[in-house]
Symmetry: D2
Subunit: 376 residues, 4 copies
């Protein structure tokens, strides 16, 4: 039926959605993505690359807001292409900030930050890049590929290279820095790089981030619907960037991004630098009890996974387990009991695991330890 006003309509519909979508089937934790904070930082769930009808996307900005609320995100940015406007015949609006403004209005009664951003869309080099935390998208309409980055920086933006592994611009999918990218990095015009975009993860992009001190980014780059593109009803999720922020503001997120404090989350993978990745993993898995089984020296340690990511662990402690090999998996939101054979009863115990779904460099995984007192 025809609704009395768009605003009322949105609120009612969001309420309906929440009910409909609250308990997706194959995901124990529901659809909303969950990660714990870490000592010193709020872990902010951000998706800073997506599109609406205001460039080549298929939805009005209110759908992007609704999706983000259902996904439990803290911040999104609608990064419309500046140069690529396939809907221009129908949406000729000269103000490139419209998408942002409509989303901002839609989100105003919700805990969701809308970050002003836009995509700089070029052939290689420099390919596609995003500038977020800009002040005015209209001023970004500059044809010179370097000058547009300078404008982004004049607006105090955070910039990152999109999908450097994109086969349409790199048929071998092997991300490599061009001289132009090197220059942009050198001149501090380029801050980050997507290691994850849509359905792609790139070891090469991760290596570039590590070698050049770029911020590690993961984004959905969604054009149609998050639910369809990422199979949400079956337990799938969009890629996001976890930003380690000193507070819960947009400014805090930007400061975190500028200082490289991120972990990308993609299909049960957590990709980041050890200094952020290790504390995140440590907070993600919590020992909830550790007690000896009666008349034995077998210590039952219950571990709870507080996150939306399954964990795949390889035992690196000196102990063997009673019902697991060295491979232990803990489903998203699940609990697992590991039966540790300590031979003698001991007062405290340390478990160490190589975390195979955490990536600190190509083919490299951090080893993380958890200590706990035991109940004799």
């Amino acid at each position: 039926m025809h609704k009395l006003s768009v605003v009322l309509f949105s609120l009612i519909s969001l309420h309906t959605m929440a009910q409909t979508e609250e308990a997706p089937h194959s995901h124990r934790m529901g659809r909303a993505l969950k990660f714990p904070n870490v000592p010193g930082y709020h872990v902010m769930k951000c998706d800073l690359h997506m599109h609406t009808v205001f460039s080549d996307g298929a939805v009005w900005p209110d759908i992007r807001v609704a999706e983000a609320l259902m996904d439990g995100l803290d911040a999104i940015s609608l990064t419309e292409h500046l140069e690529y406007q396939p809907h221009k015949a129908d949406i000729p609006h000269p103000d490139r900030n419209r998408s942002y403004e409509l989303a901002l209005k839609e989100a105003k009664d919700h805990h969701l930050l809308i970050i002003r951003g836009s995509e700089i869309t070029r052939k290689m080099p420099p390919g596609h890049n995003n500038a977020v935390f800009i002040e005015d998208a209209n001023k970004m309409l500059i044809s010179d590929s370097v000058e547009v980055f300078r404008e982004a920086k004049r607006q105090n933006a955070f910039t990152f290279w999109n999908h450097p592994m994109w086969v349409s611009q790199r048929p071998d999918g092997m991300a490599t820095l061009t001289p132009m990218h090197k220059m942009l990095i050198k001149e501090k015009l380029l801050d980050g790089i997507e290691v994850v975009n849509d359905g792609s993860y790139s070891d090469e992009a991760l290596q570039i981030a590590l070698d050049n001190n770029l911020t590690i980014m993961g984004t959905s780059d969604v054009h149609k619907l998050v639910d369809w593109t990422f199979g949400v009803p079956k337990g799938g999720h969009r890629p996001i960037t976890l930003v380690f922020s000193k507070d819960t503001t947009a400014a805090g997120i930007k400061e975190g991004l500028m200082n490289r404090r991120t972990v990308a989350f993609f299909k049960d993978l957590l990709i980041g630098r050890d200094e952020y990745l290790v504390p995140l993993v440590k907070e993600s898995l919590k020992i909830t009890s550790a007690k000896y089984r009666a008349k034995t020296t077998v210590l039952d340690i219950e571990i709870e996974n507080l996150t939306s990511s399954a964990f795949t662990l390889k035992n690196k402690s000196k102990y063997t387990f009673d019902s697991h090999s060295d491979l232990v998996t803990i489903p998203a939101g699940g609990k697992v009991t590991i039966e540790v054979k300590t031979v003698n009863k001991i007062n405290s115990v340390e478990l160490s695991f190589e975390v195979l779904n955490a990536i600190n460099a190509p083919n490299s995984h951090p080893t993380v330890s958890w200590s706990t007192q035991t109940k004799l």
Copy 2:
């Protein structure tokens, strides 16, 4: 990632969707709606009331096409409001046929008919009405509430009254004909009436249809996403109108609509006139075997439900059953074996059921019979 062309993008995405959505969880038959043809008619699955960004909807027309393809529909109409244009600041396009044209282009490689239509949006009376199979939406922009119907008829349109039970226009939700509606009907300017709209079904609207020989309509009136509004991942579905058409063309659908040959489908209810409802029910449930259990006079009759609607049946035959009471339910796409106690072995048997989920008038349900030869 940024796609090379909108057309290519759409096709790729549709392919991805099909894979993602092929086996929704709580619906045995998958998401695509299924109903059999009946003798003499193709049963065409139509949703003739919905919105896109070109009026107060939240998606580009390509999403409506994608949803319809996933739902297995035969025809849709994007019935944008002519008078209510909340996105006008951004989409000022003067041509009210744009939505139709964009959908037509998107659907061109698929078996999906796009019907040109528009919504006539007024206070009561006459409230909201749709005109579909029009020739030019622009010419429908007429302020006089009767004259616009005359224009629709000049364009050979099929017209119907939308959500007569809408509480925003009727706070008691009791659909009743106004003098203006009576006049429109009398002058053959109004052909049908929505008995189902979005989440609502109205006994009063059904009675109006029967009393005034109007076409019985069921529509989604979707503004946001079909998946969210109707809980598709949990097995829900949008309301549709089944049109009994002499062929599979748009002209055939229109001829069927004009001649009142419809059944509305809504949450496992089938609502229509007996002459179309009864053949549909008869074809929907098929006896797939009927054989006597060894050494007994108990006849095991297996019935298969070929449709996307569960059936709720009340036994009206002279027999009792071995493992059912008089209440028999057959899930969508499911099979049930009814163990009929015939006392003597007989060569053929007739089952009769009051079909409680089929509605031929308020609180009234057809009784339908199935005969079959038995295997002694």
Copy 3:
């Protein structure tokens, strides 16, 4: 591994089972059967017909106890055949009370009553019958088919006719009283009759119960595993008898049975006399809120189903509904909101439904009413 003691083993295993079985998939309420008490009576969930290895069953009595605990039953009886002992070569134990005693020991730390019983196994007439609440099964080994009932009554047993519709003894499946049954009833030697046994329900048996003032019984008659026979992992359940008892003791159950206070539960059907069926239905469905939707005279009434049985209702009130036809189904453990069009705002409202899944006679269903104050 070999367990230290059978008792310990059982307790540990029950604990494991509880965890494993707590949230069966297709059953919102879990596997444990749930029905509310009614004014004046405890509603006791009883299965008084089943077998173990001590006659022709396939499990030791401890499995029957474990199954009953998982199913949330209040009482069971292991009714071994006295005459049919296919395992006699291996289990020659002369004491026919063994099965009872082993179950009693197994259940001693649980809230589960074990009722001493046995099956009297004859050709027709009188076919198979059960005597429960007996004092000594050994004394029931009497060859005369009438005398054995007299012995049962000397032991103050409750007796009932098993599966009168059984095709092995009645190839047409039509339960009818034989002269011997009439005599047994007349002499007060036969108290009840199975209207439901295993996978069968019989309208004819129900009519016999009503015509002859017999207790209406429903039993599993399980021989192998409850989980397999009744498809428990897919949401199936065993048939049971709900006994309306003045207390929660075995004596209370017996008194209830002797006084015909029962309802049989079988595949979402509740079968009984109106005086017990109607209060049970009334307590089963609770109105949890009733408030008018803003600016309308549509009253949203939320109804919660407190039971393990789905309900299928047919509207018999004077109102029509906004989103339902006259057919309303409420899933087991689910909630449904019915949108009642009261035309004017009223302070209290009465809903009346014919309860199609409740059976008070063949093809007959009680009409039950619920009243509630409204929130204007």
Copy 4:
């Protein structure tokens, strides 16, 4: 209802079970365990350790047969305790072969081998051991702990040490050889060792098997119900031993066991010697297509998992992937596409993975390679 004969009853019930259990929910492949054969050997699915009411189990042998048929096993052995007979008061049968004989009769129309066996039940040392492929269980009732092994060998039995990690006999759960075990091994009286029993896996037991050339065994040791103990409705499974046999006979299985040709399967782990483990893994995962994505050098390789075990793989090839890190998981019965970045188009490609769920020694996993031609 009472069945006419036990044999008929069993057949009917098995048929019913098959229908009920055919599509367990959380297991894509259904309940029946599946592993491919390998070049030169039939891979026979065997569970050679379990109990019935004839020792301390809770079911009649026919249930063990039914469970094995549903689990798709090739062979089982009912290894009743000889010395521990808690049901002796009720089942005093002096013939210790009864359990075997009853299972044999039950299985006679099915493809299921019943292996005669018995458990030798002692304190440590030598703890519990099984002798399977014996000729007469009665002759195994010998009190001397060594002499009973000699009798087993006189009967040409295959013998193995049960649950050497059992905390009731080893409170630290650390399997270690006692002098008596060393002697038994030296004198060729002990052939195998359980590395998996019920819910336990032991790295130490695996090391003992490797150091002493013992057959690696995995068994259920089920006492109650397989469905409950191993959570089958939720996708769990019993542990089994895969025996690499030259034919599909009992003699073939025995020859395979005697020659150490086994892999134990337990909760998605495959535990065995490289010479059997590696071919099994290689046959388990099949490359079903390998073609270059249009206009790229990215090779899409589709891998199908033919088994009931999920696989967890770590990339050891020289390539990186487009949408996976070095960690790849392939669900049981599932398909995964790995997008290999080969930089140049090549005619054939080799993938190498460390198979983390395959164990050839404590904390050690084989690396397995698959080659395929590509479609340019």
